[in-house]
Symmetry: D2
Subunit: 338 residues, 4 copies
């Protein structure tokens, strides 16, 4: 940590800062400069909570060298985590995993049709939402428990593990009963109580990046889950919010190599939410795999034109099947077994 | 709603869109143009869920004229809502209300000192956080129930209603027991399950704008609360996330007159979180009141230099007292009784 | 400057960084930590160009303590600059200055009508654009030289100095001949060659903040002008680009006190471009003055409904006159002579 | 164009809007709704300048269906443009083109070393900056004319066309004399006078996207160049500015397929400026090619650790050679001749 003092900070202010640093059991090393003094803080092991320092007079800014996470960091855990779900390995040097299915569960027929289609095309995990976070209350909010049961039956019928979003703590038991992977959505990335409870489970989890979460905040949110003991965690980039309105969100693909550098956790990509437009999903799916994504989560609907949710970004079964053919070829280039 | 077709959309695609509109009980009115056809949608009362249309082929974009909220809209409720808390009126043409106190409750002594100071300086409502949303798990997370009790006792001792943040549904009963106003924080603005449960209460609520929530999303989140029957709701702008790093967030003051135009709900401003820097709080407080804010929520700590949370943005009791003097003069200019 | 090394940087890499620092005539002071080593750089006077260091292996990040500007900084020039234009003082503790007039010069009649109206209402400087930066080429691009002449005549007739935008170096002579203040617009804030040429003049200049320029970049752009010797410079905040679409831009009012802390240059506000909506201009004008703006630049058009440019954000003469009445009252509160 | 009236707009206001539409030679078609009236505007061929309408009372918003560009649009020019530079074809179904070289020209030796290295590795065009746009005036601003000559000689020696940035109109003749492609940089994307002059030339141009330019604004800027008659234009995505600070900019790869859908112009990607970090350049280069980029412009420096500009994002000759090997394999997957 480096504490940069104001140009005109007086010796008394500098002294106070040094004392506050000492009070935290750390060492303060003033670095006098021609324009202003800076105070290096030494002796910390990991992130320093600067709360008792930040408010002192005469400080211009505090620069953190350590990060607000440790368990998720590759620095202390160099080997890449592989999350295993019913024999499917996600992360590390394994072949990327494809999760696919409808945005929202609407009926048994719809999910079954989707499940058979994505299975046949080569997807490994079935997705489907029973609880839907919607911007306004006057739109379809999901089928709830009934939807969970439908998803489970569909997964069992085609022999695929299933993933679904959980939105509230009281749903956790129920969702764990029916789903193989819990998804914590972008809007709940900083719902810290949900993260803590999810951390207490021993159940695989996918955490999506918040719409305006920095990579540092994303990893700090993941740290909440690991800190409670659950290390079966995978991350998912799903686009960030920027000024650009041509896509639903802006897919930030650089996040894939950066997360791999900073963390040992698997990082997947959701090209459907990131772009919001069906025509962009195949091309961005392939770009994400080349960027090193450990998997993709893709929306597929048997009849997107009548989907109750996000039809515009859902692939048709034909579109998905065609994409899987291209991905298969891409795996050859990337050196994975087809 | 206006559906804009692609340049090369064929008559069959246009026909399909018209049928999908009819299926929603609405009327489709094609508007042929020289470049492309657009289809006006008539007959809707309020927001149309375009899910079953958005996925159809040949559509370039869908422009919504109606908004995804209705109960919060001034269009259908022209009179400004006044939220009343123990005799204090918030909203409408009333004198703005000042909420003040520490970011986090740390001890009985700290809260009592803050309470006496802000009461003496003229604040009407006492704030203090017992449950704290923190970026990472390795920092102070709040005192919980013990903190709630301290806050209540402090409020009672100085005769002020109290406001505190609620982060999870299971806390609602407890928090309602101790606090006069529930705060839903920025990170939970789209925690829709929490919003729904808060909507079922008959307890005043302050909803803070999410860090990257558009005004439309902010009002749609408020709609969740009103839709469940709780109309004792006030909104609060607390800065949005932008590229600018000189302040913690970017205070978007235009939101104050815009919310007043679009909605009947009171809109307050939190200059402490918006700027993140003590030196900016007084000047932005006054700017917010001139912009029409119905109130301010300001962090005050008896000893900011040793605060466990957000000391850098907390005013000292002296600083707050001085600001209240300036606000008092400003009220004269604004035509409110001192 | 603090150079933060990677967790696994080896001694050889650290040695190379130290040598590169020495090569710049500076002193390198390693600060070993438990997680990683950081290297403090001492002895610099002002901004260090880190180009020859940044590319070295083993560096995680470089944190700058000094800023890329010096002449505009208050650190080295504590007294606030006052720009004087034909007897009108802008900046410092002076009463704020109001610049008003049409967005674009369209005809002699239009400018004269606007000039008389804003003069009568109390504005001190007349604005009007002869060269207009427009998003696309198929819209009105300004009247050019003919417009400059009209503006000059109108200014002379009502006895007001005039300000107009300059877009290219070849226009400088001409514009200096007709205008009392040159405006460099937001789109040209980093047109560094234009800044350099403007810096060689001895003519007052208003530099507008770029749409996505940080405060640091804004001041560094201003530094270009001062570095060439022109210190008659005022800055202008005109809204930044964010995800929010409810206003044309997002007015960042915190910039006003921040610029006053960091720099000695006057800082004005353009509420017309910042909001893009007439109804928001009066309230944000007053908020800007309370935030400490040294002046406002406001669009006024005699007939906004037929304006060739930005009619939606232009006040009518009646609206402007009414706003000036409110501003006059506000000056009393702010302690300026009416 | 659709004009959405306020909820409480009166018939007189609606009438005025209809008249203003007629005055533009267009037809107004009111679409009454239950909440508010909208007015469809028919008969336009392309973009309508709404200046004379936007300011009318009673209007809530104006939704444009047409775009502010036409010549760059694929709607009216379905065949993809191929720009040819000394026998090298850029755009269309051709094999992507690699432009490489140092950020700034520093010396003859440096450019020659870079030129030989990138030529040997397989690059087709040599890049190098003689005029450098730098945030502040106290850093290296480029070698100017001397740099241009060095670049030309180096290009001639290795037999490669050269590209360099132009920053001001007066440089155009000189730069055309020495460079085969002119680059208009991100900071000048809306320097409309420069665009117009570049449009009058018959010289290939690369236009980079502005840091906060929407795709619509990017294409409208390109329209300025085509409107003046120069259609040898290629576009380049180089990252946009967002809240994320982990990379220099945020690479927006979705722009590649979107530009290809909307426009016939070639679209390239600059992974060096987009990420700002050497380690990310190879992976994002490959992702960009898979996304469909018509080429890449990559910074390569013989000794990045002593580069005067952007060393942290420059590849070494070895790094570039290794990347070119991977690209060569990728071409096989993509179906291009190696």
């Amino acid at each position: 940590m480096l504490i940069v003092m104001e140009h005109n900070a007086d010796p008394e202010q500098i002294e106070k800062v040094k004392k506050a640093v000492s009070a935290l059991g750390l060492r303060a090393e003033p670095i006098p400069g021609s324009e202003r003094t800076a105070i290096g803080v030494l002796g910390n092991r990991g992130w320093v909570d600067d709360a008792t320092i930040r408010g002192l007079p005469g400080i211009r800014e505090i620069l953190h060298v350590s990060k607000p996470y440790k368990l998720v960091s590759r620095d202390f855990h160099p080997r890449t985590t592989v999350v295993r779900v019913k024999g499917i390995a996600i992360g590390g040097g394994e072949r990327p995993v494809i999760l696919a299915g409808p945005c929202a569960i609407e009926s048994e027929g719809q999910v079954l049709a989707a499940a058979h289609a994505v299975k046949k095309a080569g997807a490994q995990i079935l997705r489907g939402g029973a609880f839907k976070p919607r911007t306004g209350p006057h739109t379809f909010q999901g089928m709830g428990l009934e939807g969970l049961k439908i998803l489970r039956r569909a997964g069992d019928e085609v022999g695929m593990p299933v993933i679904t979003e959980v939105m509230r703590i009281e749903q956790l038991d129920q969702v764990c009963q029916y789903a193989d992977i819990l998804q914590v959505g972008a809007r709940n990335m900083q719902n810290f109580d949900l993260l803590k409870e999810v951390g207490k489970l021993r159940h695989p989890v996918m955490l999506k990046r918040g719409m305006c979460a920095s990579i540092e905040e994303f990893l700090a949110a993941a740290e909440y889950i690991l800190a409670e003991g659950n290390s079966d965690l995978m991350l998912c980039e799903r686009g960030i919010r920027t000024f650009e309105q041509a896509t639903r969100n802006t897919l930030d693909l650089s996040v894939v190599p950066i997360i791999q550098e900073l963390s040992h956790l698997p990082i997947l990509v959701d090209p459907s939410h990131a772009t919001g437009r069906r025509a962009l999903v195949p091309v961005m799916s392939k770009a994400a795999l080349v960027a090193g994504a450990h998997g993709l989560i893709i929306e597929v609907h048997p009849a997107p034109e009548s989907a109750l949710c996000d039809g515009a970004q859902s692939l048709t079964p034909e579109g998905f099947s065609s994409l899987m053919g291209e991905i298969s070829q891409l795996y050859e280039y990337l050196g994975f077994p087809g």
